[in-house]
């Protein structure tokens, strides 16, 4: 073909046009090595290289062409000679020639990429009609033909490929059985527990599973085409048998020409993929490196790269590969990482999690010091596979409680490893050998989006298994470079909320003006803005608890805090008195009704177990509150970033199931923490038993009664992004409960960002729940007594802001709609609906 070349090119012959051989051709083509080499490829199969990994899709509608790894004219246009349906039958090393039935071809360099062949156990009768294997497109055609007038099928071998074959038989509408010699399915990848689970799952799909069955012979059947006879003379009749009992390297040619072969087969190669004859290389499943055969495509691709490098005097070497795999077999997730059995690392420790209901099994193999992940096994759910693989392949130090990685999410475990935590050397795409570092380089070049990064690195253009990870890494890196993450709260302070909190506390700064004078940006005006002022007001209130209506604090507040009511869309306000724990006397209910009637307020029971009176005019607020306070009400802080409500269920006092007085506890807690100003609003729930009628697990602080006391849950959230609270401490007595919540809340107040609910704070907290437990329960920072003292100060200095305001004529002046006229705002117009007023 390439007759125009001037210098005599060296002859390079590749035997085998499978996945790995083809990858080598791509390397040669892409890197202009065809100037130097005239390449000839021999393929025994009829088809040009195709995607064997997705072979089974042939049965679900894909054809040979769509499985092919390249366009039909790829070889011709690239100048590579591809000779399909032409098997090499001999290698003559003396004359440096390969021999086929068609002729002899000289070579300067030779690459063996002959892959492997399915192992068929030496059972008498294994060559009868209807005995088949599962490796090539032709094999699949044969299975399809045999299935046509068959009703039953058996797969011999319950390993990875066996199960894939079983799925295929099922898809061909055969009654399918899997016969495994070992005592469990997938003996290589899973242990007894995992195997048992897998058996149940697969049996549930209607595939019969027979383990510990050694087939003695195969005879003609009575009711079906074939009969399998097992060791104990039990028999199984079937119309066809697919052998999938493992693969063996296709090393016949190499053996016959005297190359070094491993004891159990495989052409011995070194890091350069050179065999014992330096003119000959071997790659893919035929190659034996460091006593190992790699039965996966990614290591084969790496060998192809090493071989290319050897052929072009480069220095890329093959250094072994990870055999971790993640598969969906018959719809069942199975994952295996590293030393999944834990038998290659003496002293390794195992963690196991088995959920018999969801049918999930997970196992971790951890180094004896508990710091490194050595292996993992997953059955039934692969969701943590990616995270575990990163821990394993990058040697990332495990969290203090490694078990959290395999516990179900709802118990607040399994923090996923963010892309930021990965080292530069982290392998992101193993098909194309792309590390996080390569991705960063591409981005620092001029790849500005995912598509560009893919183009530049080829990442995720192989098996596709890394797509999700690649995206998260790219997003993370782009973000890190794009908008520089400025943590300043606003243009007036080059500080975060946490930093401002510390400054205020350490320096004892009591006003906004002092803070901005000492710590504000010099080049901005000194007024602050609607971001920093309320944030600082909240910090000052958390620290010193002075009334927010004091002159120095008034300009800092949002209108809701200024007027201690929530502004509605027409400029009126809502009035929400505290109804601690949701418990209210009939007398107080009547007062609410009377006040609502007198001031024409729309009344509604809120989602927080209290009553909201809407539509109050600014100038009416003091009178309304005067009447409420006289009846024993106090402000409900519905307007503040502060404690809202403590929702309760009726508990042991009335409920037949209640084990503690949940209402009593809710009232205690609401009264203790009312008035605490915090980064965002805080909600509690207290339930009298595990039936959880108060929905405590959706609150910032959730408390559920137990026989022995109280279980404390933290960092739940309803709202926009619901999050279940996490169990924090169990069986606390009342006193322990208060202390723990004191510390928890003060730590939140101290360290959270502005407008950050506990749930979001928790998700952003380095070290997660474990860290929080260390700080709050074990006092790892030594700050607990200080946190308790601070909380006690807030509790002791509580006063009802409304009571404070109406006793101060100066403060009341603020509640005038107009300073020069007593008339109400005439543009507030109401209409009535369902017997109440609402904005027109």
């Amino acid at each position: 073909m390439s007759t125009q070349k001037l210098a005599t090119p060296e002859q390079l012959i590749i035997i085998g046009n499978g996945m790995v051989g083809h990858h080598l051709v791509e390397q040669l083509v892409d890197n202009a090595a065809l100037e130097r080499y005239q390449v000839t490829v021999f393929g025994e199969e009829r088809h040009r290289a195709y995607d064997r990994v997705h072979l089974s899709e042939y049965f679900s509608g894909r054809d040979a062409d769509s499985l092919a790894l390249c366009e039909a004219d790829y070889y011709a246009t690239s100048g590579v000679e591809l000779r399909t349906s032409e098997a090499v039958i001999e290698i003559d090393r003396n004359s440096q020639e390969v021999v086929t039935e068609q002729g002899r071809y000289p070579y300067d360099r030779l690459v063996l990429a002959t892959g492997s062949f399915p192992f068929v156990p030496p059972i008498p009768g294994n060559d009868r009609d209807g005995c088949l294997v599962y490796r090539t497109l032709d094999d699949l055609d044969a299975i399809q033909a045999a299935a046509e007038n068959a009703t039953t099928g058996v797969v011999v071998g319950g390993g990875l490929l066996g199960l894939e074959a079983a799925n295929a038989l099922r898809g061909l509408n055969l009654d399918t059985a899997v016969v495994e010699f070992a005592s469990r399915l997938m003996p290589m990848q899973v242990d007894n527990e995992g195997g048992e689970l897998l058996r149940e799952k697969i049996a549930a799909l209607g595939v019969q599973v027979l383990t510990e069955r050694a087939t003695q012979r195969i005879e003609p059947g009575e009711t079906s085409r074939l009969r399998m006879v097992f060791q104990d003379d039990k028999v199984l009749e079937t119309d066809l048998i697919v052998f999938s009992a493992g693969i063996r390297p296709q090393d016949t040619l190499a053996r016959e020409c005297g190359l070094d072969i491993g004891e159990r087969g495989g052409v011995v190669v070194d890091n350069q993929c050179l065999t014992s004859d330096p003119a000959i290389l071997a790659i893919g499943e035929v190659a034996l490196w460091n006593q190992s055969i790699f039965g996966l495509v990614a290591p084969g691709y790496q060998m192809a790269k090493a071989a290319f490098s050897t052929l072009t005097e480069g220095d890329t070497q093959f250094g072994g590969a990870d055999m971790s795999t993640k598969l969906k077999l018959l719809g069942v997730d199975v994952g295996s990482i590293g030393d999944a059995h834990g038998n290659q690392n003496p002293g390794a420790r195992m963690f196991r999690y088995l959920d018999p209901i969801k049918q999930e099994y997970r196992k971790l193999v951890v180094s004896s010091d508990g710091k490194k992940l050595l292996g993992a096994m997953l059955v039934g759910n692969n969701s943590v596979y990616d995270t575990l693989l990163q821990y394993y392949s990058n040697g990332i130090e495990l969290p203090d409680e490694p078990a959290s990685l395999i516990l179900p999410q709802s118990s607040g475990a399994a923090p996923t490893l963010g892309p930021g935590a990965l080292p530069e050397t982290a392998m992101i795409c193993s098909c194309h050998n792309v590390t996080k570092g390569n991705i960063c380089t591409a981005i620092d070049g001029d790849a500005t989006d995912l598509a560009n990064v893919k183009g530049a690195t080829k990442a995720s253009t192989g098996c596709g298994g890394c797509t999700a990870l690649l995206k998260s890494v790219v997003d993370h890196e782009l973000e890190a470079r794009g908008v520089e993450v400025d943590k300043s709260i606003c243009e007036h302070f080059a500080h975060t909320r946490q930093e401002l909190y510390d400054i205020v506390r350490v320096e004892g700064i009591k006003t906004f003006s002092e803070l901005i004078e000492k710590h504000g940006n010099q080049d901005t005006h000194c007024l602050g803005c609607d971001i920093c002022k309320p944030a600082v007001a909240s910090i000052l209130a958390s620290c010193f608890n002075e009334p927010i209506t004091d002159a120095a604090h008034i300009p800092l507040q949002d209108t809701n805090d200024t007027f201690m009511a929530n502004m509605q869309k027409n400029g009126t306000y809502s009035v929400v008195p505290r109804v601690a724990g949701g418990e209210i006397t009939p007398d107080k209910l009547i007062v609410l009704g009377e006040v609502a009637k007198k001031y024409s307020l729309y009344s509604k029971v809120t989602g927080g177990q209290r009553i909201d009176l809407f539509g109050a005019r600014l100038e009416d607020l003091p009178d309304i509150w005067g009447e409420l306070i006289a009846a024993g009400f106090e402000t409900g802080h519905a307007y503040g970033k502060s404690l809202r409500t403590v929702k309760s269920c009726v508990g042991s006092t009335w409920c037949r199931y209640g084990v503690q007085d949940s209402v009593g506890m809710a009232i205690q807690l609401e009264n203790r923490y009312k008035g605490l100003r915090s980064p965002h609003k805080i909600k509690f729930g207290v339930s009298g038993c595990t039936r959880e009628c108060a929905e405590a697990q959706s609150k910032d602080i959730g408390i559920i009664a137990t026989e022995n006391g109280w279980n404390l849950y933290v960092c739940g959230n309803g709202g926009m992004r619901p999050r279940h609270a996490e169990l924090f401490a169990t069986d606390l007595d009342d006193e322990q409960l208060y202390r723990t919540i004191d510390r928890f809340l003060m730590f939140y107040v101290r360290t959270a960002d502005r407008l950050q609910r506990t749930s979001v704070w928790r998700e952003n907290l380095d070290g997660g729940l474990e860290y929080l437990k260390e700080v709050i329960l074990e006092d790892s920072l030594g700050i607990n007594s200080e946190l308790e003292r601070q909380m006690q100060h807030v509790v002791d200095s509580y006063q009802c802001e409304w009571a404070n305001a109406i006793s101060d004529p100066d403060k009341l002046k603020r509640f005038r709609s107009f300073v020069n006229d007593d008339r109400p705002d005439p543009s507030i117009i109401m209409t009535s609906e369902r017997g109440q007023l609402r904005p027109a």
Binding site: T524, C526, P555, T559
Partner: protein, 129 residues
């Protein structure tokens, strides 16, 4: 009622006293009625006492009390601040910023609140209606 309609005020003296210094709230706003040539208007008066001592701009501002985004009379109840070098008030409902100097909305160049001249005469606050 549109906040964008800017009318030339009549040149005759229409200055009127609205309230006293004691009615104002430092670094915040109050609302008052004002007689204008187009009829009564609700104005928001903001008092920034420190401005003068620092040699900056004015210490009194008068703007529309009407918030064109919510159609409610609430501007006087917004938070005062300075954003990118101008003194502003943030609407208490949907948080748009309006420049105190000329009423210009920072988020929407087509929206501008009316403004009036305002000054102390002794302890009294006078506005040109």
């Amino acid at each position: 009622m549109t906040a964008t309609a800017l009318k030339h005020t009549v040149s005759t003296d229409t200055w009127q006293p609205l309230c006293t210094k004691a009615d104002l709230v430092a670094f915040s706003g109050v609302a008052a009625w004002l007689n204008t040539s187009e009829g009564p208007a609700q104005v928001a008066i903001f008092y920034l006492p420190r401005q003068r001592s620092q040699g900056q701009e004015k210490e009194l501002y008068a703007l529309d009390h009407f918030d064109p985004f919510s159609n409610a009379n609430v501007i006087a109840r917004g938070i005062i601040g300075d954003v990118k070098g101008s003194s502003v008030v943030a609407s208490p409902l949907y948080k748009q910023h309006f420049r105190l100097e000329d009423g210009q909305c920072l988020e929407d160049e087509n929206i501008k609140l009316r403004t009036w001249k305002v000054a102390f005469r002794g302890e009294e606050v006078w506005v040109e209606g």
